[in-house]
């Protein structure tokens, strides 16, 4: 076993010896066990033992970073020297800094010890459940993994964290087939720290399998209309992360291209929308304990009742702009549910589309998006009438948030996020 605290302390000392006035490092050891299924058959069992040592030095206000995967003294000494040389090649910037603080007590989250036999049995049970309940499904690839991660963060300002976590991750990629007919592929997954539940009952796996089986006879949309786009939990995340990336991230705030750059404290969305980043939520498995800059991770609201509360800024961009940093750097997104049942939302849509998966480029800096609505269904007069193919949707991700028609009261917890379905009005849907 590696003594990660000793390795981190040695790294900080080496960075200081090379002239760093401030320094931080993370030493991580990860043990991975992974089963793979390809084309519906078990194909691979992997066992990995990975080291990672990342370090950052600030020398004369210049920053350099190095990452290696060795823990021996010779490697640490060379990496620290390289790190200082990289910093020297940079430009001075007062904004580089790390958190002040204290040493935190070690923490353990999830299930660090893998039960491999039971894990394999649950995986084979999932394969059997799918064959029995969803015979048209062909598993293109399934990757199930257990990770045990021991991590020590330490900086020169007295902060240290010592975290151990373990979890199981189940990722599926599949499509439906019947004779010569085939659906589009679809991916779903969960992470969990328990093997007490059949995997098919976790997250939205069962629903997703059933939906894809209904997509064997998709119909190309003819013409174009402006209507409602309903994003289930599985596709809502990609839209919301695009919003975050375009409007609230380090890069777009620092370069001033974010349309939200002056919108803190003002309404940017429908008042029913609350988006939080809550790594401590009980439904999040092994949520972050600390930020990339060494602060204790705290939950926060990005948008509360439609009003922009925070950007997702690092300490560096916070120091550059004078805007408060984000209280955590996780992706543990929790969206407050609405009060309408998903079935009732669909029943109330005159003409629209359920977007199971959005396949499109990143939105432009202004938020305009267009892409293919994959694994989608047409809604007409409150009923799902057919699966769709070759159908595109377009709009603006900023406008979407203001044009919310309804938020479902049901949510999906996949171990990383907790999301409802949201229906947005004013989306352009176009076909051939």
């Amino acid at each position: 076993m590696h003594n990660l605290n000793e390795i981190a302390a040695k790294t900080l000392a080496a960075l200081k010896e090379n002239g760093a006035e401030k320094a931080a490092c993370t030493a991580r050891f990860t043990e991975t066990h992974e089963f793979n299924v390809d084309g519906g058959e078990f194909s691979l069992f992997r066992t990995l033992f990975d080291n990672n040592l990342s370090m950052t030095a600030i020398c004369e206000k210049k920053k350099g970073s190095v990452g290696i995967n060795r823990f021996d003294d010779e490697a640490i000494a060379k990496a620290a020297s390289d790190c200082a040389a990289i910093a020297a090649s940079g430009a001075p910037d007062e904004a580089w800094d790390f958190a002040d603080g204290t040493a935190h007590a070690p923490t353990t989250d999830g299930c660090p010890e893998a039960d491999l036999d039971r894990f394999f049995d649950r995986t084979r049970e999932l394969m059997d459940d799918i064959k029995q309940r969803h015979p048209k499904i062909l598993m293109e690839q399934m990757i199930v993994t257990h990770k045990n991660i021991h991590c020590v963060y330490m900086n020169s300002k007295g902060v240290s964290f010592d975290t151990t976590e373990g979890y199981y991750a189940i990722d599926l990629m599949f499509s439906a087939h019947e004779g010569d007919k085939a659906s589009s592929f679809f991916g779903t997954g969960v992470i969990t720290d328990s093997l007490d539940t059949r995997f098919i009952d976790l997250g939205s796996i069962e629903t997703d399998l059933a939906d894809v089986e209904k997509q064997l006879d998709p119909v190309p949309l003819t013409g174009k209309f402006t209507g409602t786009a309903l994003f289930p939990a599985g596709s809502l995340g990609s839209i919301l992360y695009s919003v975050v990336g375009n409007f609230a991230s380090d890069m777009t705030i620092l370069d001033g291209t974010s349309p939200w750059k002056d919108k803190l404290g003002t309404a940017v969305a429908d008042p029913r929308l609350t988006v939080s980043l809550n790594p401590s939520d009980s439904r999040v498995v092994c949520g972050d304990r600390y930020t990339a800059d060494g602060f204790v991770a705290e939950d926060y609201d990005l948008i509360k009742d439609g009003v922009l509360q925070s950007f997702m800024l690092s300490l560096y961009v916070s120091n550059k702009t004078g805007i408060a940093r984000a209280k955590n750097s996780s992706g543990s997104m929790i969206v407050k549910p609405g009060d309408t049942a998903l079935a009732d939302i669909i029943a109330g849509i005159e003409r629209g589309i359920i977007v199971g998966r959005f396949s499109g480029g990143d939105p432009g800096t202004g938020g305009d998006f267009s892409g293919v609505a994959k694994n989608s269904f047409l809604i007409e007069n409150g009923k799902i009438t057919c699966a769709l193919s070759e159908t595109m949707i377009s709009g603006n991700i900023g406008d979407l948030l203001k044009n919310i028609r309804a938020i479902s009261k049901e949510t999906v917890a996949d171990g990383s996020t907790v999301l409802p379905a949201i229906a947005f009005d004013g989306v352009t849907v176009s076909g051939q």
């Binding site: 990289i86 085939a182 380090d250 800096t365 202004g366």
Partner: protein, 461 residues
Amino acid sequence: MLPDILTKCRQYLPTDAHTEVRVQKNRSCRVTLLSGNLTANAKSETSGVSARVYKGGVYGFSSMAECSEDAARAVLKAADENAHFMDRRVGRGKGALPTIQDGYLPLKSDISDPEQKLYADFAREIDAYIVEKYPNLASRAVIATADSLEKMLLTNDGMSGHTILPRSYMYVFLNSETTAGTPIEMFEAFGTSGTFDQNFTDPAALYGKIDALYERLMKKREGVYADAGKKTCILSGGLAGMLAHEAVGHTVEADLVLGGSVAGPNLGKVVASEKVNLTDFAHTAFGEEVPLPVYLDDEGTPAVDAPIIKDGVLVGYMNSRETAQHFGMQPTGNARAWAFSDEPLIRMRNTAIHPGTDKLEDMIASVEDGYYLIDTNNGQADTTGEFMFGVTCGYEIKNGKLGRAILDTTISGVAFEMLKTVDMVSDTVAWQSSGFCGKKQPMGVGLGGPAIRCEMMIGGR
């Protein structure tokens, strides 16, 4: 250079199961200047050893972050145990893989590891040029980046060898606003295989290309939304390369064929117009070395070209040794791994549509009402062949002449239907190699093509 720990390991290889041992080092570095702020200045180096053992139709794999004989023996033992675990629990009962050519591929030459200052200084010179010449930009970003994969491979029933594949690039992003105040962006990646000091010796060599990029940005300021629907389009060589990779290439990766891709029932059938020929090139294409040449894959198969479409007919797949056996084809050397801790997967190498005989200007002149689409920032495709690309630079074509620029949009179609509409193919191939293909692991790939004229769906607003 990696230490040779494998020569002594041959004695530990099992004789009854195909086995690979791979020692590998990945290097990367990145310098990012965001509107003059040095937001990233980092390098990384990871190395280790892995082993993979094939037993009864399943693989066992293990890796360790250490380059030593002891580590090699440890991962061999763990991989063998994993293979036996799977064989015992799954019991597919398959026999050995067919034998392939053996031998040893020696390293051609070592590569340099330039100091970080070289990247930072070059990026600063480019940034200084942009800010001085174009002070009215809303923002800009300049990124210098490089990565390399060094591999030493030992197999018990195939080729062994030692290879290095470096590549390096400069990315330039320019941002402005439309006349209506909507933010717009234009970017380009410059570079190819080779180390940074080989590819970038003089910043002034990029100035003309940056000027051209700025001109396109200014035209985009006056841009209009494309008219949504099915249109006659000229795709640039870059977009045709993306089409070759995303919309066709993935569907003919034999593991995805086994997963139900559209290429399964279409082998031997017409899937494109007779003007379309498409190959996944190993190391040489059209008389020249390709952007990211592969001579040996990570299963020990000597890399050869994989013909995919010949005169419009689907003629083959990209294979690993296992899938080649399944389909009764020859392995092509497509099984590649990104990191030492990754198992080989079927990956593209340099996938390209072959050039035709048409001139680009004649192709544009032939379009009465359509679009010339030049740059893309993103591409995705389905195993059904349905694809979409984000288009970041394009122009209207009206009565055979280029018109207004268009704002960011998306094009889509179904590959084996859309390719049947190709009726003109230009005589010049454009290659790209800066991106990463994602398929469980990242992988650097080359993609290329000539300009093609076709019918496809374009998104508007």
